[in-house]
Amino acid sequence: MRLSSILATTATAALIAGPLAAEVKFGALYPFSGQLALLGEESARGVELAVEEVNANGGVQGEEVVLVRGDAVDNNQAIGEARRLISRENVVAILGTYSSSRSIAASQVAELSGIPYFELGAVADEVTGRDLQYLFRTNPTAEDMGRMSIQMIVDRIAPVIGKDPSEVRVGVIHEDSSYGTSVAGHQERFGEEAGLEIVTVQGYPASTVDMSSLVLDLQGREVDVVMQTSYQNDSVLFLQQANEAGFKPSAIIGGGGGYSMVPTAEAVGTDVIEGVFDVDFTQYTVDPSYAPGMEDFVATYREKYGEEPRSGHSLNNYVGAMAIFGALDEADGFEPDTILAAVEAVDIPEGETAAGYGVKFGDQNQNERAKMMGMQWQDGRLVTVYPEEAATSEMKIGE
């Protein structure tokens, strides 16, 4: 259904922009069913919007971009769908994938087939840590997330609470899948490098129904700052149970997932979530002058899907896809090596994309300009507070 409506709109767009000579196919590999479907779908919408925009402006190299969906519901399926996209649909490249494990599995297939694979949303380090030739990642990573949260503590939080970084006691908790574990690992590493006192690092299953013991543990260790990398259910649970146990650290820094979503705030109550920090992909409250095009994106999104974007995933996927399409438009042909060369030449400075961060592929084909944003819940809204150039509001601590 949805695909055909996209095709219809792209056709209309094509009429306006003049006839496009031919089609060029790209794969969109996301988890569209199963547990990860919500944000998988949200991510794919960003790519869809990018495709529409590109086609409305004459396509890529004058050819109309056609997006073929693949459903990466599990790792085996991710491999199967990658195969199908490559051998059946003859896509020139694959965009994806939101989930890190699907990305790792599917990109190995693309690598062996010699087809470029563009990761626009998965954060695990391992995605780009494998010396793959055909894999590129535009989005910031778990490492960026860890680094950003530690920077926030050292730069801003420690001075305000009047402590030297070495006196700040930090508790790191995380859900125990790949996502939480890798972010927490970086937080621990960067924290120790910055001289913070990391008093505990604890994992827990995301499906847990009780975190009171963990809260008591953190309380007992007299933690100043809690960093939690989590999904939604566990974010809600921790915030509620911490509040109920009377545990009030100087700062709580959430990592992505649940912390960026409005239903989380509704679930715990705006008074409870007030002042809580969040490090995540660029969301929609970033300074528009830092992220040109973000407002247009939101407007188009609303028009097309009839609702507000549910998270920043669509925006970041959109930005990544636009950068890739832009680069390909400059090239001549869609041979894998041509694509590689075109993408390697991309050089978009910071502050010129709708997500704020720039694009330039460095070591391991990772976008070295990709950045997470530091945000904070203020008066029931998530606002960007860090770094300075992207901030829309002042950081509030200890009020």
């Binding site: 949805r2 569209f32 085996n76 399926q77 195969r83 199908r84 051998s87 125990d176 574990t181």
Partner: protein
């Protein structure tokens, strides 16, 4: 019931059907290999590799879940162990062809450790225990990061070539997956059609009857679990190489475990080819459904999947194999009364000399809570003797039987059996009793319902023979002697009660016991059958077998027994010649009440 359905299949028809079945199977297997090669599409390759993979896993599972009837929902443990062993070793520079066997070895150890304590548990309890073990393995895999890489998982270096099981083209991967499927099928087929398979199914159907027939139930189950685990682990190693990336969540996954079992269930649980059929049918349907419904709305495809599963369970509880056998006109039980004739010697012949003692019971004691069910019972059984054991209900006869066949441990006293070597032994479990030649029947008949009459008797015959052909021959002979010759091909559950009782005896007779314990083989059968049973027992005794028979049918007891023991409230109250014993006032009192005895 149509004419054709009731008509017993002739041997020719059966052979034709069999040939047809083999041909269909050959075609199916060939198609698994040929279709992707002809189509040449990578995605089709992937689908067929997935089919082979799941069919192989499911076939391996079926050895435990189907043959042995232990519903494991934790089979991903073994698959995961194989995957991790393979990947860890590849990262150390060891080829997965070797790692595969390391994984299989570790999986066997894990299987024995996990299953041994769980075999006491049945049905849902076993399933829950395996789920719990799976959860523990998953959490441990997450926790021990140095070994497993924790939640972030492990990857293999993309070293291409047969040596590393990683390929650019798809054909070699298909060949390996197909080869593994063939290995799994061959092993499953070999097990099912050999002694081990019979013993597993017998254990699944009636554990106590299997033990009485001399089956070492724990041992055969452990073998089944080990084989199944090793095969699953090897498939796991290959799949890890195919995925190139593994993590605890997808390796030690409950969902995967359920899926493996599901393919077997839908194909036909406990059959050799069912799991294969299940995977061949379901994998493409799942793929198609996902393609057609997945993009439509989140959850729709899963919802339909759940519904289909319920419908399949409701309307095809025996799976595809069940439907197929219904189509091929399965033989139907013919219930023409007990026309079988016992090729017995006429009872008029003089009984053989009663020889030396073969079984000694000394001062046996048993308490159930406050109840003294066996009180200082002692007696001796001689070679070629028929000893009648009578007594009112609740006298403790069956308890006594359970103690002299190893099913119950006595609280005091001893049971000794004369071995073939001429020395006295004190066996302690049913297996040891069986090995010494003590065979028993059960008061409530315990046929192996899913087996034919012939196969039922073969379970007993396997006590003496290793080869299927020998056991089959022995079973046939026994069946003819017991008047079951014409029912050989019938399912045991289709027999009449008289037939079932004879089957019960036949199974024990096939073991060629030296001491036969018969628990009410005449209860509930008609007069003609009683006569036949009496003839039967006399003819058995003529071969030198000693018999202890619990009986309520007095006329039979009198006609048969050389000696009678009367048990009341756990005590022997009379012993001796049958005609004298029935005149004993104590016996009359026990049976008919005090007033009667005094009168």
């Amino acid at each position: 019931m149509t004419e054709t359905a009731t008509r017993p299949a002739t041997a020719l028809e059966r052979t034709n059907r069999q040939t047809l079945g083999w041909a269909a199977l050959g075609l199916l297997l060939a198609a698994l290999l040929v279709v992707p090669i002809v189509v040449g599409d990578e995605f089709v390759y992937h689908i067929f590799i997935t089919i082979c993979l799941f069919a192989a896993l499911s076939t391996a599972w079926n050895i435990v879940g189907g043959y042995a009837g232990q519903l494991s929902l934790g089979h991903a443990i073994f698959y995961g162990i194989g995957a991790y062993a393979g990947v860890i070793l590849v990262n150390m520079g060891v080829s997965p062809w070797f790692g595969m066997f390391v994984g299989a070895g570790v999986a066997v150890v894990a299987a024995v450790v996990v299953s041994y304590p769980c075999f006491r548990l049945h049905g849902p309890f076993f399933a829950l225990a395996t789920i719990a073990f799976l959860e523990v393995f998953r959490v441990l895999a997450l926790h021990f990061r140095d070994l497993t890489g924790g939640a972030t998982g492990l990857m293999i270096p993309l070293k291409i070539g047969w040596e590393w099981m990683v390929f650019r083209e798809r054909l070699p991967a298909l060949l390996i997956a197909f080869g593994m499927l063939l290995v799994c099928l061959a092993v499953a087929w070999a097990i099912r059609s050999r002694r081990l398979g019979f013993q597993l199914v017998a254990t699944r159907e009636r554990e106590s009857a299997a033990r009485a027939a001399g089956v070492a139930t724990v041992r055969v189950r452990l073998i089944a679990v080990s084989v199944s685990a090793a095969l699953s682990a090897m498939v796991g190693t290959f799949h890890a190489m195919y995925l190139t990336y593994i993590e605890p969540a997808s390796m030690f996954s409950l969902q995967l475990s359920i899926q493996i079992a599901m393919f077997a269930l839908i194909g036909g649980i406990g059959t050799i080819w069912g799991p294969l059929l299940g995977a061949v049918l379901l994998v493409p349907i799942t793929e198609f459904a996902r393609g057609a419904l997945g993009a439509e709305a989140i959850g729709l495809h899963g919802f339909v999947y759940g519904l289909v599963l319920m419908l399949v369970v409701l309307f095809m509880p025996d799976g595809i194999m069940g439907v197929l056998s219904r189509f091929s006109g399965a033989r139907k039980a013919q219930d023409g009364g007990d026309e079988g004739h016992i090729a017995a010697a006429s009872p008029s012949r003089t009984p053989p000399e009663i020889g030396k003692p073969v079984l000694k019971v000394e001062n046996l004691e048993k308490h159930f809570g406050g109840l003294h069910v066996t009180n200082d019972v002692s007696f001796t059984l001689r070679e070629g003797e028929i000893l009648g054991l009578i007594g009112p209900n609740g006298a403790g006869k069956t308890t006594l039987f359970n103690m002299i066949s190893g099913f119950l441990a006595p609280d005091g006293g001893s049971v000794s059996v004369l071995g073939r070597d001429g020395t006295w032994h004190s066996p302690s479990d049913p297996g040891e009793y069986a090995a010494l030649g003590v065979g028993r029947t059960f008061q409530i008949v315990q046929p192996f319902a899913a087996m034919s009459v012939e196969e039922n008797i073969m379970v007993g015959a396997f006590h003496r023979f290793h080869a299927v052909a020998d056991a089959r021959e022995a079973a046939r002979q026994t069946a003819h002697r017991m008047g079951l010759g014409r029912y050989l091909e019938d399912e045991a559950s289709s027999l009449t009660i008289g037939g079932l009782k004879r089957l019960e005896v036949a199974r024990v007779m096939a073991m060629e016991p030296r001491v036969l314990l018969l628990d009410e083989v005449m209860a509930g059968i008609n007069r003609a059958d009683v006569r036949r049973a009496v003839d039967l027992m006399l003819s058995i005794r003529e071969t030198g077998v000693s018999i202890i028979a619990i009986e309520h049918v007095m006329q039979a007891v009198m006609a048969l027994s050389d000696r009678v023991i009367v048990l009341n409230s756990g005590e022997i109250i009379a012993e001796g010649d049958p005609k004298e014993v029935v005149r004993d006032p104590q016996v009359i009192e026990a049976y008919l009440g005090k007033e009667f005895a005094d009168a």
